[in-house]
Assembly symmetry: D2
Homo-oligomer: 464 residues x 4
């Protein structure tokens, strides 16, 4: 067994790390993903050290060229990652010393792994947020384009999975555009708060070296340095906030995914999903399963789990850095990857799906969807108070049900048995087409509204 | 058993609701808390109906006076809530009809419970957010005031609950001011997104009545009406976002609470908590238990539970409204109440706690907290690269440990056995006081920095 | 402000509890539900104290009669609960001293609230577990009875919500009987582990009084006293295990609830839910919404939240009792209540639902559900390896789809274009009825199997 | 783009799977871990097929030898896993056909991936449960051995992290032995319920082949075949139950871990952790951080997250198999691995830790831990009712606190100012040593009890 004092931090240690512990303790297996950001941060840090005369120009050049060589080695899979060196930071620093010698030992001046890792994760996450935001925008575009095409395609609007009132397919899809719009807004707020530089907080108390944190912040495109060194190294708000926002994205996508599963069931049959997003069965040769939709429906479990994981870890953790916080990485990495896959697959599915108008109309015939229109008519035309109108309409529905008819096919005589002063114009009210076209209130489903909403959505969400 | 068609929605029903089901289904037990907001929303709605000539001026007056009477009845506990009437909306509407007759039946024109309940919750939650935000500000003020008093009180700064470097008590408390500052920021963003009016979306599709949603939005201080009627009635993002933000607040408070528990333990003894926030034991007469701190430490469990509850409910729920969504209320109500109690009790505890400087200093003596200063000295003065300096310092610590000494009490001769060219000035470096005063980097713990940070914090957080 | 030293534990306290803190700290608002168990435990405890001569016979009698009076006062709502007295234990003890004087002060001898509250909760929870177990059995009975009636009613068996193979309605319902059987088994295991008596562990270390814990265990029907006093007062495993088991029950019920929602949708229309378990809409007069099913579908969110709440609280909590543990009660109480309501409402719904055989058969026609039978036929009769048979069958399905036919209606000529050596008997294979009756493998869906399974289920689950 | 009808299930498909979707949909990246169990299950399945004359002896031999070759290829990393083939089942079946030709196409006769994957996971998890159970036993052994050595080492027993009463270190450690004992019990119950064979349930409805499921069950050491084919393929109870049990294990370990972190802090200093389980700092050369303990403290977050993940996925999922259920694997795999690491590292830490008796005694001096003994003495000797005795003792504590003395050092005169009839023997009562030795109630901390408990624990937990 090797002595721990071979380790970079091992000056005071006289015996070795247990093998089991080494594996348990190391993060290099998963944090190597941060190598680009770690090098990016180290370069900005050394430029500052040089500007402040803490290291020489020559040392800076050596460090930068060494780090760039390492970046190349890693991206070419020529780098030997060592478990014993624990994490990406120590792996890179150690290799740097191998390559450039003494100057490499100066890189860690005026910083600690505590502020370094917080900086690395922020840099990494900032890129992912930007990517996710772009992908959300692209999914919005796809939804908006479908909405425009199907702005007047009639389908049932559901509450409780019971037919409620007719809506248009375009109107339905635009609801998701709204949700994703809020998600993008939340991502932006999260990015804004994340965007402060921890580096220079050192272990926890700041440092006595004459560093320039504003310079580093600018180099790395942070809006400013963090204000309190203890907060800076113990803060993982940004990770939790990112996973909270991701949870909502995942929920929104899962709702649409559930609808796709239901709509593509044999009984609904409202949409045909592309074969590119469905798969077969190993035993039942006829199956075309909506696997992509089901996976997207399931993924919130994973994101919630990741969120809960890190929240649990941070709950009641005394300041400042504790090793517990190493558990932040895998949930963040997995969440970013999962959300991205969900968005991209959803976009593919939506783009390639085909609505089946006949089936949508067939379903509309079943659910008495114009009952509300009838009640509203009684209010407007016959001056019956809404509550009474609602009650009378309920009785008309009972009648239709008993006759196994839909509302449109009731005769005026039949209706008069319940509403004696009903007039013949009442039959128009019961038509599905007229129901939709009248719902012109702001945000309503009338096709003319939907077209306007499409136009507005393009302005609000798709600019540049 | 009564027929369901006595119910307001019972026109088409021929038999009755099961007793068990009635209890299971009703929300009046907990949603009566919304009565003020329900009435507020109904008044704005009827004013709009009247302005748009959908009801008459006279009817409006009747409705408003009836609703005001009901508000009084409820606040005076003279209102008979009925389980059979399911929820606060139906309880109020039913009573209104009792009081004012036919005009009451017109209140529900051009709206549905779906858009009504979304509006009520938003109104209620907006008030709670404003209150929580104020309380957070007040807690920040208390922390800032303590920081100002103790800007130079020395205590150990911990990582891994091991003494790391000396910091000041003021600096430590200011870290929490930063956290709470981000929390307030998040609350503000949440409020901004919440602040769109669902009312007028009706059941899900909008309405054919000539309503004016912008008028109602203005009356109720919403920034604008929601854009899509289906989204409006199925959206609970605001509730999830509120509970996500609350989770972070709860985490921050629980971290400070954990520190208070540890600091007030007999072995640390860094602070004396007021008897007003501690309690005794039923069996052990000597106990003074930090109950308030422990409860605050525990409460994140509750908030996480509430958050996960609603996230689970909404995951994979097809549009638009499903009864599942009734499960939104208790988590929201409980979260708002819990967070408020935690903030207020934390403020009381912080305000009344007394630090015990001697004990803090005693703890500082134990942990070799100036080892980093020694390493930095070797870098700056003896031009030893940081990695080597770190290693040599580790050996000095081992020496001190072997001699059961702290670093300050080592002799120059002892140090020279490890660092041959050490000079006598090295002994100053090992003093705790000098360690802190040198950490003047931006965000660092030097007392002069802390005083500046206090000043800046007042500007950033306490302005109104 | 009153001094805390008026409090039962206040001997060493010189100032008072803050008002806010008092409210935050008290549990009497919710733990009064434990009064019967608290009194039950106190009586057993005093009987033991008397048997062991720690108190006199006379004191025992006074205590018992005092406690019984208190029980009556509480059940008659004549008891004044005091927030200042914190919890049910202190409220009762204090009142006991009021009623019987000095002897009352001896009740707390040789115990602490720590072992007392653990005992109370176990007593309470044991009763609830027994009740839930009974209710589950009753729900199983209802499901088994329905299965017996509909042992050969054909319906689609789904994977991915796509028609897979025909099954019988009885077979489908029996799957839930299996799930609930495992749930009952888990409840039993939980009860077994819970059933050890904490009382007599005192604060944490045991006591020096000559108590007899086995006597108390026997009196209260515990299998034995707990083995380690520190474990006894800090253990809440039983609560977490109960909520874990409840989570699975809730999941099982939610799956059936989701099926009921889908089956009662207008497009599936497989079942008619009783009006007793559906409700109407405030705006759409035609609606009959499956509210009970939706609520049951939603409730896992609540149970998961409760479970995660307590798990989060106990994670990383040092021994022994911490005030954090007071947060155990509300999740336990709410979980027991919720699970009970879900089971009872599910039973009501299942009992009163009516399947609609025509619609089930109609759906079966759509999904090519006998494709697997065709593939199996090719294997058995034409000796084609399964993988090839699967592939050929897939092509037959494509053919049928192209012709907008179902499999049954293909002609032998059409089939021969893909399977040249197909014989006329192949047409029988494609009939739905024959598909089901052939699935006689153990656990399979053939009606004859289902009848046997019903019989066996009665033996396994419904005995006394 | 390749056609999907190259896929094993692709007979009816005319276009291809999207690249993005392929990656999203495949599980081979993580389910290859199941290869041994998949092959084990396939061999048992084919043996049955041969016994039942569904395949020939010769085909059986080919299949078995082919599968064994594949097992070798995989374990030697010579197997080409293909994303396009989705999962371990299809990868192996496809390779089998490559190796042995036609006979390979018969392997999938009378089964489906649905029953196959359930069988694989159960086989895999059963092994892990057995391993975890063994490791828990080993950790119990280590704790029991430490308890035996330190059966009378005095330390503070805490409630609320405040010194409560003296206990022995052995007694404290035995509390964890109890917790882990319950955990092993729960694992056993979970294993018992898991141990039923799904294979032979086929897709969902059973099969028409004359299979013998009892034979396969016996071959694979399952107690019996599952009773209902639909339940069998949609059931993941065992996975959730395993993760629930693991959550409790993780909680127990995290509580001990938190104690180790606190005990090894500079201010407590109760134990010295081995350098093998601590690490250094990259910047602070003096640090020895309890990283292993912190990681174990953090891991419940991960396990809770995994549990919540799968519970969320299964909530409200209609029968039978849905692709959502593919999300079961990673949480299960990760949980098993994490729990194992936690147990092993905890055992290493406990085995190598050294208590520091002086520091434990020093802490005991601070907290007036014999106050309860004094109160009990007043009850027993001076016949003062417990409540009054508690109150008087509280005042003695206040006196000691004011004099900055501990209880042992008060004079009899001082005590008499509060308890006039106190006798000189009262001073013995206040000694820590006598406090512990008197706590001989069942489960109490008296050293004589602890020794007995050690002996009993060996019988209960370490027998094989």
């Amino acid at each position: 067994m090797k002595k721990s004092n071979n380790k970079i931090w091992g000056g005071r240690f006289s015996s070795s790390t247990d093998q089991l512990m080494e594996e348990f303790n190391s993060s290099i297996q998963f944090d190597k993903i941060l190598y680009i950001e770690d090098i990016e941060g180290s370069i900005a840090h050394s430029e500052m050290l040089s500007k402040q005369k803490i290291i020489s120009k020559n040392e800076l050049e050596l460090i930068v060229s060494g780090l760039k060589q390492i970046e190349l080695e890693i991206s070419n899979s020529e780098f030997n990652f060592s478990l014993e060196l624990e994490d990406i930071h120590m792996n890179i620093e150690n290799r740097l010393i191998e390559i450039i010698g003494e100057a490499g030992k100066k890189l860690h001046t005026a910083r600690s792994r505590n502020d370094q890792v917080a900086t690395d994760i922020k840099l990494w996450l900032r890129k992912r947020i930007d990517q996710i935001e772009l992908n959300l925008k692209s999914l919005q575009r796809t939804l908006i384009e479908k909405s425009e095409i199907y702005y007047d395609l009639l389908m049932p609007g559901y509450t409780h999975l019971q037919v409620g009132q007719p809506v248009t397919f375009g109107h339905h899809l635009l609801a998701y555009v709204e949700m994703l719009g809020r998600d993008r807004d939340r991502l932006g707020d999260c990015r804004k708060r994340l965007n402060e530089l921890p580096l220079g907080s050192a272990a926890l108390a700041g440092t006595s070296y004459p560093i320039d944190r504003h310079f580093v912040a600018q180099k790395l495109n942070f809006s400013k340095p963090t204000e309190n060194s203890m907060d800076a190294v113990s803060d993982r708000d940004f990770a939790i906030e990112f996973m909270s926002v991701s949870s909502l994205i995942a929920i929104h996508l899962s709702r649409l995914a559930e609808e796709l599963v239901i709509w593509s069931s044999d009984s609904f049959n409202f949409v045909k999903l592309s074969e590119s997003y469905t798969t077969g069965s190993s035993i039942m040769p006829q199956k075309r399963n909506p696997d992509a939709a089901e996976l997207i429906r399931a993924k919130p479990g994973r994101i919630f789990g990741n969120l809960l994981n890190l929240m649990t870890v941070l709950k009641g953790l005394p300041m400042t850095y504790g090793k517990d916080m190493q558990e932040d990485k895998q949930p963040i990495f997995d969440t970013a990857k999962t959300i991205d896959s969900c968005i991209l697959n959803m976009e593919g599915m939506v783009k390639s799906l085909e609505p089946i108008p006949d089936k949508m109309m067939e379903a509309l015939q079943k659910g008495f969807p114009t009952a509300t229109d009838l009640a509203d008519y009684l209010v407007t035309e016959l001056k019956i108070p809404f509550r009474d109108a609602h009650h009378l309409t309920g009785q008309v529905v009972m009648l239709a049900e008993k006759k196994e008819s839909n509302l449109e096919n009731l005769t005026i005589e039949e209706i008069k048995t319940i509403i004696p002063n009903a007039e013949i114009t009442i039959l128009d009210i019961l038509k599905i087409e007229s129901s939709v076209s009248k719902r012109t209130s702001y945000g309503g489903t009338a096709p003319v509204n939907v077209l306007q909403a499409v136009k507005k959505a393009k302005e609000r969400f798709l600019k540049d």
